[in-house]
């Protein structure tokens, strides 16, 4: 039994996949806290689809995937951030147009020219096959950037997330905070795309944060819990992926969803009351008269 459980560790691709999945879970868990509390879940979902366009284009042009999709993702992220902040048109509509058009472009490019390099299915649903040293380095770099941002700008990020208008008056550059957060979100999606797949990344951003919210009323503890829960789900889900022979994205998401259901039942009304607010977007603005 133990031998059977440890057998996949003999393979380098699995060890790499496990490292990437565990770090991806921790990264998405931490960033997900800001995503759900700022009401950015739709941006996370849309951004993952937008990056698929960059993935397809870089794949066909033979450009390095991380470079091509990275530039595409950061550009999409900044565009979405600008549209959301300026409220030029309805932000949901704008995000929908930008991200679905990018996703559709990716699909069209694959349909016309076929895939080169990384597989179409792996991009959509995640796969532990083909996870190489390059992916481990990429996730490590993004984790380092995210951890630095959260550690060094913890209070400014918290203030911006909770009360952006007052944070602005207190001297926080909220526009910069939002842009940094969106860029780190794009980097997280890019670095985790291989194991999670673009269609499932949003779930890994939201579920650990939602579980953590049911367990605590403190922001600091929610951040710590979501990071640990995300990494545990990544580790367990990746092992299940190997043993059940299912793509890694679905097993990681299902592991997280199962944990969510368990915590939902155990915490009862208290947990439900705590989590009830996280889907609500933050107050838009002080009533202006």
């Amino acid at each position: 039994m133990i031998d059977e459980l440890l057998r996949p560790f003999d393979f380098e691709f699995f060890r790499n996949g496990l490292i990437v999945a565990t770090m991806a879970g921790a990264l998405c868990g931490a960033i997900g806290v800001y995503v759900v509390l700022k009401g950015m879940s739709y941006i996370g979902h849309g951004l993952s689809h937008a990056i698929f366009g960059g993935f397809a284009a870089s794949s066909l042009l033979g450009v390095n995937f991380l470079l091509g999709a990275g530039v595409w993702g950061v550009a999409s992220a900044l565009m979405i951030n600008a549209v959301t902040r300026r409220r030029v048109i309805g932000s949901d509509a704008a995000i929908g147009v930008i991200t679905t058009a990018s996703f559709a472009l990716g699909l069209a490019l694959f349909a016309l020219f076929g895939g080169v390099g990384r597989s179409f299915d792996a991009a959509l649903f995640g796969s532990i096959l083909g996870v190489g040293t390059e992916d481990v380095i990429a996730i490590f770099v993004v984790c380092l950037l995210a951890a630095s941002l959260i550690f060094l700008r913890y209070r400014a990020l918290l203030f911006t997330t909770f009360d952006p208008e007052v944070a602005d008056v207190a001297g926080v550059n909220t526009a910069r905070m939002d842009a940094l957060l969106t860029v780190v979100l794009a980097g997280s999606i890019l670095a985790t795309m291989q194991v999670l797949g673009v269609t499932l990344i949003a779930a890994v951003l939201v579920i650990p944060a939602a579980i953590a919210r049911m367990l605590t009323n403190s922001f600091a503890r929610m951040l710590q819990l979501a990071t640990v829960i995300g990494s545990v789900c990544g580790f367990v889900g990746m092992n299940l992926s190997y043993h059940l022979d299912i793509q890694s994205g679905p097993t990681i998401v299902l592991t997280a969803a199962t944990l969510f259901a368990a915590v939902f039942v155990v915490t009862g009304a208290t947990g439900r009351r705590r989590a009830a607010g996280i889907t609500a977007p933050a107050p838009l603005a002080v009533r202006a008269d």
Binding site: L158, T216, N217, A288, D289
Partner: protein
């Protein structure tokens, strides 16, 4: 900066016009606030009270006119409690501490910061609530938490948007007495409110605003039927009670006569 009523001017709006789109919410507004002043801005809904606070705070730029602040002026803003996301996972201590965004960059509070938070919470009589979630508090305690967050930055000017909105009479008095005490300690305060009688009882200076400044001075000078009608577009009567003006809208007064006659 020049002296204003023997006090230093903290900020001055001169000919300020601004709005959210093509339509101006504030038109040609002049307003100066001196140190240790306690100013209440009143006016009907849509009069531009919150916009005026935003311009003062610097979160909104005027289309025309100038805003002059004393260099290095420390301001703090307390938003309407109705706009707070009460489901946000934040304890009282975390909420108060988040205003400390300058200087120390580490996420956790230093020993000195924890002492300062305890001191400011104690000053506002909520010292035993540091570990509680903000939603678990009473209305008055919630208001105090956000005042504490503002005070931790040691401001010279406190801006408050509708601190007495949606609260009962007892809580309104509690909040206004607390602000009185803070003002007596040297803090300049500008607040907006719909509560004309509360302002008349507690504040030395009232600004009547309806897109532009209609009246500016002591409650006795400003709360007159003429200024109030021009501000609110409705007839109001001003009575005297205990040496303080009491505003009664004409409908209520006529109605009370009618009730008396029928009795």
């Amino acid at each position: 900066m020049t002296a204003h009523r023997d006090r230093e001017i903290l900020l001055a709006l001169a000919g300020v016009t601004c709005g959210y789109s093509a339509e101006a919410v504030l038109v040609d507004v002049d307003l100066a606030v001196a140190s240790r002043e306690f100013v209440g801005i009143v006016g009907p809904s849509g009069a531009g009270k919150t916009t005026a606070l935003r311009v003062i705070a610097g979160s909104m730029r005027p289309a025309r006119g100038t805003v002059t602040r004393r260099p290095g002026l420390r301001m703090a803003y307390v938003p309407q409690v109705e706009t707070i996301n009460w489901s946000f996972p934040v304890t009282v201590q975390e909420c108060v501490l988040m205003s400390r965004v300058h200087g120390r960059r580490l996420p956790w509070a230093s020993r000195a910061e924890r002492a300062q938070v305890a001191q400011v919470l104690g000053r506002l009589d909520i010292g035993d609530l540091a570990g509680r979630h903000i939603r678990e508090l009473s209305g008055g305690q919630q208001q105090r938490v956000f005042i504490a967050r503002a005070l931790l930055g040691e401001p010279e000017l406190l801006l408050m948007d509708e601190p007495t909105s949606g609260v009962d009479v007892r809580l309104r008095h509690e909040v206004l007495h607390l602000l009185d005490d803070l003002n007596a300690g040297g803090l300049a305060i500008v607040l907006t409110t719909h509560d004309l009688n509360g302002i008349a009882a507690h504040l030395p200076r009232v600004v009547c605003l309806n897109r532009s400044v209609i009246g500016d001075g002591s409650p006795h000078d400003v709360l007159t039927p003429d200024v109030l009608e021009r501000t609110y577009g409705a007839s109001m009567q001003v009575l005297e009670h205990g040496g303080m003006p009491v505003v009664v809208d004409s409908y209520r007064r006529e109605h009370s006569h009618h009730v008396e006659r029928s009795l």
